[in-house]
Amino acid sequence: MELGIHTEKRGDNIAVVSLSGEVDVYSSPRVRSAMLEQLDGGSRYLVMDLSKVDYLDSSGLGILVAGLKRSRENGGEVFLVNPKPRIQHVLEVTGLHNVFTILKSVDEAVARAERN
């Protein structure tokens, strides 16, 4: 249930951040730090693997959106990967599925980032 965060660089300007468990008002500051660390470290593209996320609240959504803005300012992008149906539902209810590029796999997202 606790939040797990795993980060992996894929080339110079791409980072894969895999989250697991619950992203809520308590744990989301750690997601923010992980994203900022990559963005500040030169990764313009963030691939957020959500496949193991069970809970995502507004503080988590806010951090994803803020990360998206920051990465786009640098000519990059934030890709969301493989959210569970429940999380997809939350993204749709908030309209954020239109704001983010949501992809099926990490490899697909990394390939997209490399093509850009």
Partner: protein, 149 residues
């Protein structure tokens, strides 16, 4: 049944981010008493988490580490009613809070309120007797309507 006379759940925890999950889990247990679908339960859990997060964030801003959140749950015919009440004074103007600080324009309190409205059937927000905030969330059981009720 005498259960309708008083809430079937009263829960009080500190208004700190790390206790919101205690509330969410207790609400999960309470949802087990009604024929709610998985998505209905998760919608309500997310909404109650948002209401608690609002309390937590105001308590933080007000520097009131000893604040408490009180959650009550009532089971009515085919619906569940939760109130989330705190003792944190509501700031006179509740404009953009900028707590995310990467994006200071974003008003996460209004985002939270819209999210709650999207997730449950009724959202009421008011001032508690003691000066804090009360959020009232109602979720109807769609299953309950079709089936046993």
């Amino acid at each position: 049944m005498s259960l309708n006379d008083a809430p079937v759940m009263e829960l009080r925890v500190p208004a700190l981010a790390e206790y919101v999950s205690v509330v969410r889990l207790a609400v999960l247990g309470l949802c087990g008493r009604l024929p709610l679908s998985y998505n209905e339960v998760e919608d309500l859990r997310l909404a109650v988490g948002e209401a608690c997060a609002s309390s937590v964030q105001r308590a933080e801003k007000a520097g009131r580490a000893a604040s408490r959140i009180t959650v009550t749950g009532e089971l009515e015919e085919g619906r569940i009613v939760l109130t989330i009440c705190d003792d944190v004074p509501i700031p006179p103007e509740a404009g953009p809070s900028g707590s995310l600080d990467i994006d200071p324009d974003f008003d996460d309190e209004s985002f939270r309120i819209s999210l709650m409205q999207l997730l449950v059937d009724e959202v009421g927000i008011g001032e508690a007797a003691g000066g804090g905030q009360v959020v009232r969330l109602v979720k109807n059981c769609e299953q309950g309507r079709d089936a046993a009720g």
